[in-house]
Structure formats: C-alpha cells, structure tokens
Symmetry: C2
Subunit: 299 residues, 2 copies
C-alpha cells in the first residue's frame, strides 16, 4: 500500500515551499515532515523535492503531487456521501485542479467561467499556459482538462468543440502608412516588422501564406504576451494576428486596421477533459462551453 502520510508530506512541502510551513499545515514537527520525505525518496531511489527557497517538486515529485490531487478530488466526493469519514481535527482538505489553456483564451474569455466555477465549487485551480505539451500533459495526468487547438481526441479524454477563435491581421494606421504606402504587397510584407508570440506561433505565417499563396519570411519582433500583442500593434511597433475579442473596439474606432479588409483567420478550439473526472466536473464543462460560445458568437 502507498504510504499516504509520506505522499501528503511531499505535496505539502511543494504546496507551501518549505518543510517548516508544511509542518505547520500538517500539524506535525518539521523533522517529522523531513523524515517522511527522506524515507520515501530513499525507498524510491529518487529525489522528489528540489531543496531551495522555495522548495519545488522535481519531475518525479510533480507526478506524485498530481496523484495526490486526483485522490483529493475523489475523497471530496466520498466525504459528500460519508461525512462521518471527515476527521474534524484535520484541516479541511482543499483540492487543486490543474487545467491548461492556450494564452489567447486566457487573455480573452477563459477566466470568467473558471472563476465562476471556483467560487461556487470551492476547488482551487492551477492554471497553466501551454500550447505544446497539452496531449502529453492530459495523458499523463499532469492536467485534468485543457482548452487547446489540438483537434485529435486525447486518449482517455472527452473532447468538445468550443468553436473558432477568430484572429485579424492588424496594425495601427501610421504603421500601415509607413510600411505599406503602395498596399500590402508581398515585397512590403517581407520588410515590415511582424509580431510573433514565440517559436510555435505560426499564425502570422499562415495568414501570409493564405493571402499571398507563398511562404514569405517577414522580419519579426518576439513578444510572448497576448495583451502585449495588442499594445504593440496599437503603438505601431509591428503587425500581428490579434484575437477578435481584444481588437473589435479598436477596429471599430479606427485605432487599428486590418492589413487587408475581411481576411480573418479562424482557429478552432476544443475542451479536452479526463474521462474519469468529466462527470464530477460537469459544472466546469458547462461554464466553459457557454462562455466560449458567447464570446465566439460575438466576434
């Protein structure tokens, strides 16, 4: 059988960042916490906690913490049916759900529904921004659900289509006057600074390919921030693909212009949620799908 007091010690150290605070949380002495963690590490032959300020989980320790959270979610359900199991001397267990989202959803519609859910349910949420590892994270239990552009159903998950997030290729009027005096030609696009979120961001290239029918390589600034993209576009630093919900007003007022009118790019998004958790988190799924629909229909 797993030694749950040791597992609980590891997750408390990671949660609080120190052995002393973990001891306070668990109502035991720091040396008891230290001993439990050490014995488990020796038995497994691997380091679970990177000692430091703060103490953090190693990769192996991370998996163990995720396991404890999934168990916590099951326990919370069990306590609902059998309240007598709750030990009144123990602090009320708070369960943290790990959820991934792409950055542009977090910057537009994602936070309102998860906030509603958190307030009503009492769950704590750990929001991770990710575009690359979502399938892996879902499969290995690193996150329990994700908003993702990943169309392929992840093994062990339910997948729901949320609809497309619409992007516009936008820049400020002075940027367009400066860099595209003769219109948005292939040559001009090849010389006008674009904005790119990070190495994985192909939105600008996809738009260029669709419009010009060929791969061009615009010079680019790199800016890993959804809000920063809008600000940089407004200030005339570069052009970039901005999510419709963040630029609709700027487009209406003329502070931003589409490089070429009516040439949006739609990115379909999905909600992928672990099958084992899906039934228990049906409220979360409902909030997420309703908010996405409302946001995407408005664009």
């Amino acid at each position: 059988m797993l030694d749950y007091s040791a597992l609980r010690a590891v997750s408390a150290v990671v949660q609080t960042g120190s052995f002393e605070k973990a001891a306070g949380l668990l109502n035991v002495t720091p040396s008891a916490v230290s001993q439990r963690v050490k014995q488990l590490e020796e038995r497994l032959g691997m380091v679970l906690i990177a000692r430091g300020s703060p103490c953090t989980a190693t990769e192996k320790g991370e998996w163990l913490c995720r396991h404890m959270e999934n168990v916590g979610m099951l326990e919370a359900e069990l306590f609902g049916h059998l309240p007598g199991l709750v030990d009144p001397a123990e602090p009320e267990p708070r369960v943290t759900l790990h959820i991934a989202t792409n950055a542009d959803s977090l910057g537009t519609w994602f936070l309102a529904p998860v906030s509603n859910f958190a307030r009503r349910s009492g769950y704590l949420l750990n929001i991770a921004i990710d575009e690359d590892h979502t399938a892996d994270w879902l499969q290995r239990g690193r996150v329990i659900a994700a908003v993702t552009s990943l169309e392929k159903p992840v093994q062990g998950c339910r997948r729901m289509a949320l609809g497309p997030l619409r992007y516009y290729a936008t820049a400020s009027p002075d940027f367009i006057a400066r860099h595209f005096p003769e219109g948005v030609t292939a040559e001009a696009i090849g010389n006008a600074p674009a904005l790119t979120f990070n190495q994985k961001d192909r939105l600008q290239s996809r738009w260029v390919r669709r419009v010009f029918g060929e791969d061009l390589t615009p010079p680019t600034h790199w800016l890993p921030s959804t809000q920063g993209f809008v600000e940089a576009s407004l200030s005339g630093m570069g052009w970039g693909m901005n999510p419709a919900p963040l630029v609709r007003e700027h487009l209406n007022s003329g502070r931003l212009l589409e490089l070429i009118p009516e040439t949006p790019l739609d990115v379909p998004l999905y909600w992928q949620i672990n099958r084992l958790a899906a039934d228990r988190l049906i409220d979360l799924t409902r909030e997420i799908t309703a908010a996405a629909t409302a946001c995407f229909n408005a664009s």
Copy 2:
C-alpha cells in the same frame, strides 16, 4: 577564423523555422544551407538545430544565434561609418536585440518605451519574460539587457535603479464580505483563496508576513498572468498583490478594495544592461528610465 557563412545559415534556419525558408532568406539552395549546418555540427561534434516543424535551436545553437546577433549589432554600427561595406546584393541585415523583463513590467509600463525605441531605431526586439534566470542570461549573453528586481549588479553590466513598482493586496468587495466578515484576521487569511503567479511569486506571502508578523499559508489559485490576476481579483475568485498602475482606477471606483487600507508593498526594479552594448543603446536606456519614472511617480 569562425566560418560565418555556416553561422549565418544556422541563425537563418532558427529565425525562419525551416531549411527551405532559410535558403530563401539567404538566396542560396536549401542543400547549401543544409550542408553548411551539417558541416559545422560535425566539426563541433554537437547538434545545433533540433529538426522539426518548426526547426528550433538547441541550447548550444542558441548561444551561436546570440553571438550572431551581437555581431550584427556591431556590424550595423560599422556600416554607419563605412557604408561602402554594405553589399547591395544582400538583404539588409536586421538585428534582433534580446531583452528580458519581469511579467508585471511587461503588463504595465515596459512596452511603450521599447516600442518607441524599435520604431525609431529599426532594431527588432525579442522580449523574454523572466524572473529567475536574469543574472545568468545577462552574464552569458542570452539577453543584452533586462528589467529585473535583481538588485545586485550583474558582472559585465551597468545597473540603473528604475524606482519601485507598487503593489496593493486587493480583492472584490463581495470577496471581502464573504471571506472576511470579521475583518482580515490571521485565521481568515489562512482560509481565503489567494492568487499566486507561480512558485517563485512570494509577494502574497511577503505581504502576509509583514501584516501579521508570521508565515501563514493561505490556500491559493495559481495563475501565471498579470492581466489574469486583475480579472480574477475583480471576479471574486481570490485576492492577490496587483501592480498599482493596473488597479488604480478599480480602487478609485470601488470595484476593488485593499484588504487593509494603505498597506502597499514596493518592489524596487532595475535596468541592467551589458556594458559593451550600453553606449550603443543609450536611446533605449533613456526611454526605459523615463517611462519607468513616469509610471512609478503616478502610483
């Protein structure tokens, strides 16, 4: 002597994400690009480019790309003095400056001055968000300058104080009514969900320690987004330390309240810039310090 045509091939592949596009950028055949990269990798006995879609730099490849950008900056200066050196057949070289910033500066005052600088200078900028590796990145040339809370002067850098970014412990009125009906006591703080940016974010703990004189461990949501913090505070999901420039209006209008009136936390920020580059980037430093001063004095 370094084989600069091979180095240029590596950086072009990383910049464009593929051997084909790099070939287009350099006006040579894809097989020439591939050969140059391969020969250099064989000579060094290490992989410089992780082949994929897109192709990215390995850690060793990253250093090589940084070197090429620093050389590019020196060349740009040289061409100013000796324009005859510019080969009219070659595409105009665009130099990318790598700059790090803490997330909250990027979310408040940082983008306006770097945008001004980018527009006037023609430099491309690669903005990296970082709180942990700044000293290392500056020392090893991974970035050329950084906005950081790191007070200690980094070897090889000039350091300028930018002033303190002010934070307020804030929550929505309904959150405060719900979680602090008898005031913000130590016990209530231990049960009310806080917001934490990531494992390195000690601002909430520092504020709690200062106010209550002891370490408490509030339950917490994890949310790695500056704008997300403000939204989550407004929606009553949790309380968190928010930068004054983002919450001033919300505090004035009463949409957010300080947990305890007039208990801000000030975080001094610094501009650290590589000494070799400092003279050439004096305009950037001027923009940065002026914008920081204006923003911090307004809080």
